[in-house]
């Protein structure tokens, strides 16, 4: 009875999460139509005007319309977050699962390497990767930085699966290793692929926006939410709207992704 209630509640959260992500997608797709000014348009209004009918989210220090800027920045954050989540899924989740089935030497080496990288916060790894490349690769760096932890978790899950009685029976009946990998991959991702992807999106959105806040992400005029919040640091104590609205959009994106993941415990950045 209770389990059925939990399952129903989880389903409702997932629907709410995916609907929210759909709404984000819609805002991003219609960004140029919804935003009243192009990205980075200076002096759209008076500097630091509070929210009003004319400027629903107010204006910032340089007179930019915060609503228009937030819509454009959401697009940059969501696009980079989605690309980074794909990288994390492929290089973390899927590779970790396949690596477990490799020969002893590559298997142990990869597990050791990823274990060491996972001991460092993904945020620091992303900063190093951007420092070694360029700010334009912040999305890729966020995806790569979040991959080691996803790899370790997928690898350890695959190891416990391969030691299960079901796998021993399969091997004893002569099923090939390749068939076993294919079948376990299907089991791993079937039904949970979307929630795994949503959880990865939540994790990389945090890393990506934080590196941007620290000055390692998007470059003006193509700002993302992290950079918008960083730019608002000079004015937000007197003009809360310059930071509050981009922060609310960022929290909404992460929250929708977590709800879409079925309220699984999120991976921290």
């Amino acid at each position: 009875m209770i389990l059925r209630q939990i399952s129903r509640l989880r389903g409702a959260f997932m629907i709410a999460g995916w609907s929210g992500l759909g709404l984000v997608g819609l805002i991003v797709a219609l960004g140029d139509f919804l935003a009243r000014f192009p990205a980075g348009h200076l002096h759209a209004g008076p500097a630091l005007a509070p929210p009003s009918a004319l400027y629903p989210f107010g204006t910032d220090l340089l007179g930019r319309d915060v609503w228009s800027e937030t819509v454009h920045a959401l697009g940059v954050t969501a696009a980079n977050g989605a690309a980074a989540a794909v990288l994390t899924l492929v290089l973390g989740g899927a590779l970790g699962f396949v690596a477990m089935r490799l020969g002893a030497a590559p298997r142990l080496f990869l597990r050791w390497l990823m274990g060491v990288l996972a001991a460092a916060p993904a945020l620091l790894l992303a900063i190093v990767l951007i420092g070694l490349s360029a700010r334009g690769y912040a999305g890729v760096a966020a995806g790569l930085a979040a991959a080691p932890l996803a790899f370790v978790r997928a690898f350890d899950r695959a190891r416990s699966q391969s030691r299960s009685r079901r796998s021993e029976y399969a091997r004893a009946t002569g099923i090939s290793a390749a068939t076993l990998i294919r079948r376990d991959l299907v089991y791993e991702f079937r039904g949970v692929f979307l929630s795994t992807a949503a959880r990865a999106l939540a994790a990389v959105a945090i890393v990506y926006s934080t590196v941007s806040f620290l000055g390692f992400g998007a470059e003006p005029p193509r700002r993302d939410l992290g950079l918008m919040i960083a730019a608002a640091e000079a004015s937000y104590l007197g003009a809360w709207w310059t930071a509050a609205f981009p922060a609310l959009f960022l929290i909404a994106l992460i929250l929708f992704a977590r709800l879409a993941a079925g309220l699984d415990e999120g991976e921290r950045a």
């Binding site: 050791w112 001991a119 460092a120 620290l214």
Partner: protein, 294 residues
């Protein structure tokens, strides 16, 4: 004994990996190292020989020995993490135990997700805004107090420390809460609970005697992840509140291409999380063994 040896081996390999990572970064500080793989390999070899002589290079920013720079910045980060850990234990453990089981767990789940959806830098800015608005505290004003001043802090020193420590503490609370809830979730619907209830034990007795040790062991086993969360939040907190700590130094070092410094700091943070994870796994395993013997 076998488990301890196995874990010690894993720790040694992990520390070796962290050292290789630091070495690779440090090699980039050698002029021309990035031009070809051969030049990089030679630079890495030169840095390895220097590391063996305990020469960790000089900072490109200040031209001071990297170790001295690190030693002058670490106390700030250590203070923030220690105070943040105190806040986390004071807040996270009771919240985790309160909302970690039973009906409250289901009620708390959405609230926890909403609160923890805020990235640390957003939480830090919110804390700074609230302190400025309601207490009139200017963010990040004045020098960061040393350990001596922290033992007998004045109002200025307290103001300087409380906000970043609270931010680290909130992030740590979320990490501890997640670890406790993850451990509790595994025990929630175990069949032995029903058997014990039929034997006449109350839900509280079952939780206290049988479930609590397992949850505690789960928390200890996740200590590595908790420490990583503390370090990440210290990076952001030091940046938001202008605290001159090692995490802040790391960000500036990477931005300015000071790879000797960045490598050394990354090694310190990796080593810290590997050692704490090792201790946590040993303690978690010991609790579970003691529980199964009892």
């Amino acid at each position: 004994m076998r488990v301890a040896l196995e874990e010690s081996g894993k720790l040694a390999l992990g520390l070796l990996g962290a050292l290789v990572l630091a070495l690779a970064l440090s090699a980039l500080s050698v002029p021309g190292a990035a031009h070809s793989p051969r030049a990089f390999a030679l630079a890495a070899l030169a840095r390895l020989l220097a590391f063996l002589r305990l020469d960790f290079g000089t900072s490109r920013i200040t031209d001071l020995p990297a170790v001295d720079m690190l030693a002058s910045h670490v106390p700030v980060t250590a203070t923030l993490i220690a105070l943040g850990a105190l806040v986390s234990v004071a807040l996270g453990a009771p919240l985790g135990l309160l909302f970690g089981s039973g009906g409250l767990r289901r009620v708390a789940a959405p609230i926890v997700q909403i609160v923890s959806a805020a990235p640390v830098f957003v939480a830090g800015l919110a804390v700074a805004y609230a302190a400025n608005r309601f207490l009139g505290w200017p963010p990040g004003a004045g020098p960061f107090p040393g350990p001596g001043e922290l033992l007998h802090p004045d109002a200025q020193a307290l103001r300087r420390v409380v906000l970043p420590a609270l931010t680290v503490g909130f992030a740590g609370t979320a990490a501890i809460h997640v670890a406790l809830r993850r451990a509790a979730a595994g025990e929630q619907d175990q069949p032995y609970r029903e058997s014990l209830r039929r034997l006449g034990l109350s839900a509280l007795e079952i939780d206290r005697v049988y479930v609590a040790p397992v949850i505690l062991a789960g928390l200890f086993s996740s200590l590595g992840e908790v420490v990583v969360a503390f370090i990440a939040s210290a990076v952001v907190s030091e940046w938001v509140f202008r605290c001159p700590g090692a995490a802040d130094l790391f960000v500036k070092s990477v931005a300015l291409g000071d790879w000797n410094m960045a490598g050394l700091i990354l090694f310190l943070f990796c080593a810290l999380s590997l050692v704490i994870a090792f201790i946590g796994r040993l303690l978690g395993g010991a609790i579970l063994r003691a529980e199964s013997q009892a």
